[in-house]
């Protein structure tokens, strides 16, 4: 397994590609079946948000294998419009596209660590990590 990997998101089917890389890396890092599904789902949400709201971006994967911790860090980077109010988009049910609005708060619950950095007109970077238990 390559410890690092990246998938560019431009078309809807790129989401599937990102998900596949996520699953593959999660499997090789020996995540359980449920956590594999959690990671793949989180990646699906982040990739779809890029496709829907930022047009183009990238999902970067980083396998973390240190002495006492193994994990997978997923970074969704885009140069889209940015997010105006982070606390707003982290509310369950908030959506500007008529969606369920459960994506971002969902990703936070699916993963162990979660962080958003965003700037209007510059873009958004969301980092989420899951640790092998």
């Amino acid at each position: 397994m390559k410890p690092q990997s990246g998938v560019i998101i431009r078309k809807e089917w790129d989401i599937v590609g990102a998900r596949q890389v996520a699953r593959e890396m999660a499997r090789e890092l020996k995540f359980g079946v449920v956590d594999q599904a959690r990671i793949a789902t989180a990646v699906s949400e982040l990739a779809r948000n890029i496709y829907l709201y930022a047009n183009e971006g990238q999902i970067l994967f980083n396998a973390i294998q240190s002495v006492n911790k193994t994990g997978l860090c997923v970074k969704a980077v885009d140069t889209g419009p940015g997010i105006n109010d982070i606390s707003e988009v982290m509310q369950d049910g908030y959506s500007t596209s008529g969606g369920l609005g459960a994506g971002l708060p969902g990703v936070k619950r699916l993963m162990d660590e979660f962080d958003i950095k965003t700037e209007i007109g510059i873009g958004t970077t969301i980092t989420a990590t899951k640790w092998v238990r």
């Binding site: 809807e12 089917w13 989401i15 599937v16 998900r19 079946v33 449920v34 594999q36 599904a37 959690r38 793949a40 789902t41 699906s44 949400e45 779809r48 369950d92 969606g99 369920l100 459960a102 994506g103 708060p105 969902g106 619950r109 699916l110």
Partner: protein, 289 residues
């Protein structure tokens, strides 16, 4: 000049074809076609040579070119087989004609080049066009086939239909699911539709949203949707996402969903008495017990 070059090429076509075959055979091993048997490769290439010379002689009917490109596609060979082959042909033929010239000045050289280019270009254009046209055709046919497969609705018994979903659900497929569900419910007069998601790898908020909307639409036309085949890990991620499925009847397996559907339609499955027992009692009755 062109006609005299052509004469040289045609009169020596056997030699040129031999040289050409030798060169493209060496391409075969380093390239794409290393898994193809030698016989097949030689035969196809001989036919390729025929096609080229027919066209150069000017008897070139486009049918022969079309048939050839179709054959290459059916063999599953790449477009580069055609383009490489013609590239090599151009080089071999140019070299051969030049070798028949006594004095080689730049003018003769460029004339030969130009002539050969002139013969090869229409062949390339036609073959590449046919090949890609055919290919696009195949892709669009497969698309249709995939679409037909992507959201099938099976009427299992009166009032009960099943939609087994296998594979990734994108927006296009989500639309098809909705359309087929509504059409099918009306066509088969279904009371209950079971949507089986055993084969759906990831249920994210977008997929869940579409399923909820589909179930709602089915409810509006007077039928009932049951979501079945929810694998344990999918159930967990749905809960983590905070998706509310409380208005959407769910069952873990198709079997349980089917039993529920029977109940809704006021039916149940009854086991018939096992055969052995029947025979036993029959024997007993014969014995007069």
């Amino acid at each position: 000049m062109d006609s005299s070059f052509k004469k040289i090429a045609i009169e020596n076509s056997d030699t040129i074809v031999q040289m050409w075959l030798k060169e493209i055979s060496s391409l075969k091993d380093v390239n794409y076609t290393s898994t193809i048997s030698n016989d097949l490769y030689q035969n196809a290439s001989r036919e390729f040579a025929d096609v080229i010379f027919t066209s150069i002689r000017g008897q070139g009917s486009t049918d022969a070119l079309e048939a050839f490109s179709e054959k290459i596609i059916n063999l599953g060979w790449p477009l580069s087989y055609i383009t490489d082959g013609l590239q090599v042909f151009r080089r071999v033929t140019t070299k051969f004609i030049l070798s028949k010239h006594d004095q080689l000045d730049t003018e003769a050289f460029s004339e030969v080049l130009e002539s050969v280019d002139h013969w090869v270009e229409p062949i390339i254009r036609q073959l590449v066009n046919d090949y890609t046209g055919n290919w696009e055709n195949i892709v669009s046919l497969q698309r249709v086939a995939l679409q037909e497969l992507s959201a099938p609705l099976i009427p299992v018994m009166e009032g009960i239909t099943i939609m087994p979903l296998i594979g990734t659900i994108d927006t296009e497929r989500a639309k098809l699911i909705m359309e087929n569900l509504l059409q099918g419910v009306i066509r088969y007069n279904s009371e209950v539709v079971l949507i089986d998601i055993t084969g759906v790898p990831v249920v994210d908020t977008m997929v869940a949203h579409h399923l909820i909307q589909a179930a709602e639409a089915v409810r509006l036309i007077g039928a009932k949707c049951i979501l079945v085949g929810i694998r344990p890990e999918i159930a967990q991620t749905i809960v983590n996402l905070g998706i509310d499925l409380s208005n959407f009847p769910t069952k873990s397996s198709l079997k349980k969903g089917f039993t529920a559907a029977l109940e809704i339609t006021n039916r149940e499955i009854i086991d018939r008495e096992p055969k052995e027992e029947n025979i036993e009692s029959l024997i007993k009755s014969i014995r007069g017990e």
